[in-house]
Amino acid sequence: MKRVVKLIDENGRRVDGRRPDELRPIRMEAGVLEKSDGSAYIEVGGTRIYAAVFGPREVHPKHLELPDRAVINCRYHMASFSVDERKPLGMTRREIELSKVLREALESVVFVEEFPRMMIDVFVEVIQADGGTRTAGITAASLALADAGIPMADLVAATAVGKVDGIIVLDINEIEDKYGQADMPVAMAPRLGSIVLLQLNGMMTVEEISAGLEMAENAIKTIQQSQIDALRKRYRVEAGGEEL
């Protein structure tokens, strides 16, 4: 792979000054869109994403209905202006694949059997991409599901680990993704100690993957705390200033 920049400097710092195990600044908020049943906004470094949830509601189209559980529909989509080169309108193959793995990650924790013959729609809109959009998207989608009052076994949170200049690093940004050796997005249900989304692009040994997973798991616990804080903030306001 071609390298145009040095990704780790002599002090062990990354291109944006972070240590290998350091997350980018994360900010999130629940209940940001008025008309959806639940919504969230997230910023991770330069990545900015809205997520919204509708439902449980009637299944559309009807033939997708399941007699014993809810159907989850998920669309991960990037705005045309979210990337350096304008992304053509419509769904790319990448977006189709990511919609599938996002849906499956959420389906792992939602109590779908509580809502037979219903549908839960999850929409993820990336308005600016700076690496880690699927993981930030899933963190936001999970927050939006909680905001919509959908019962779940856990709040799913996610981040990506990667390998750059031979070093395992946390929460890779766009430059590290482009010029690094590997990108491994991980979403977990941390309370259950389980992985709900896992992908890997690039070469890592089994040992490196293990080390990366451990790094991701710790970070995911931190991210989940931010989700909980965002929900507390949202519902404290609606309850009239009372601490939950």
Partner: protein, 279 residues
């Protein structure tokens, strides 16, 4: 297009699931295999003379045909010194009762992207040797996988057939004459490969791992994962491809199991290819 499980649904599934799990606990499978055994593999190469490389791989009764066609085109602007390849996959309507004609659905898109990931991320094709004029003209490989008969685990079968087609293919040779591209009639060359990527699909029921699931197993798995390995057993691609919880400890076990299985599968594939491999 949303929910698209391949398996059956309903209460019968729960009974089947219990039966499959009980068998697994005794180290058995519903089709008589060991939990960590693949079904028999057969490989036929050169099945389509007009393709520049082709192979039909059977994994049990799952059957996948991959064909390769080569053209000359322009490289990607950010990779001017590399040839180009794309992978496409189709779940043909003749392969299974729920497969429909039309543009690739999310299952087919996922299949093509996972096969692509196994080949691309392992740097299996030496793309730098497929350049005719730097930044202007390169070889473009179109690797198209067709699922002909579906009896579970199209991922591993597709990777095997794509690799078999690549390893035995012979692509037209071109030369540059006064800055123009000219085909050398009657001459062909092998596709330059650096490693033999192999994927291993593993399913999980409770605390038991199995490999190469058939549809009845796919419909009752807690979750499943596909791991692609290079010839030196580095992991190059991973895809958790179904909903469900995967405990971190079992993932580590799966990565080790997959490593061993990939080595056996690679040996088996290379054995099947034998003299057909173009070197």
């Amino acid at each position: 297009m949303t929910y698209s499980a391949i398996g059956e649904r309903g209460f019968a599934v729960k009974i089947t699931r219990n039966r499959i799990y009980e068998l697994l606990r005794q180290g058995k499978r519903i089709d008589g295999r060991d939990p960590l055994s693949f079904r028999p593999i057969t490989v036929k190469t050169g099945v389509v003379e007009k393709a520049d490389g082709s192979a039909i791989v059977s994994l049990g009764s799952t059957k996948i045909l991959t064909g390769i066609k080569v053209e000359v085109g322009t490289p990607y602007p950010d990779r001017p010194n590399e040839g180009v390849f794309t992978v496409n996959a189709e779940l043909l309507p003749l392969a299974y009762k729920t497969f429909e004609a039309g543009p690739p659905d999310e299952r087919a898109v996922e299949l093509s992207r996972v096969v692509d990931r196994c080949i691309r991320e392992s740097h299996a094709i030496d793309l730098e040797s497929l350049v005719l004029i730097r930044g202007e003209k390169v070889y473009m490989l179109y690797i198209d996988c067709y699922v002909l008969d579906y009896d579970g685990n199209y991922f591993d079968a597709a990777v095997l057939s794509a690799v078999a087609a690549l390893a035995t293919g012979a692509i037209p040779k071109y030369r540059v004459v006064d800055g123009r591209i000219e085909k050398i009639e009657g001459e062909r060359m092998p596709i330059p490969l650096r490693t033999v990527p192999i994927s291993v699909t593993m399913g999980l029921i409770k605390d038991v791992l199995l490999v190469d699931p058939i549809p009845v197993e796919e419909s009752v798995l807690d979750t499943s994962i596909i791991v692609g390995y290079t010839s030196d057993s580095t992991v190059a691609a991973v895809q958790k491809n179904t909903p469900g919880l995967m405990p971190a400890s079992l993932l580590r076990q799966a990565l080790e199991t997959g490593k061993l299985k990939s080595q056996q599968l690679r040996e088996k594939l290379l054995g099947c290819l034998g003299d057909a491999v173009k070197k």
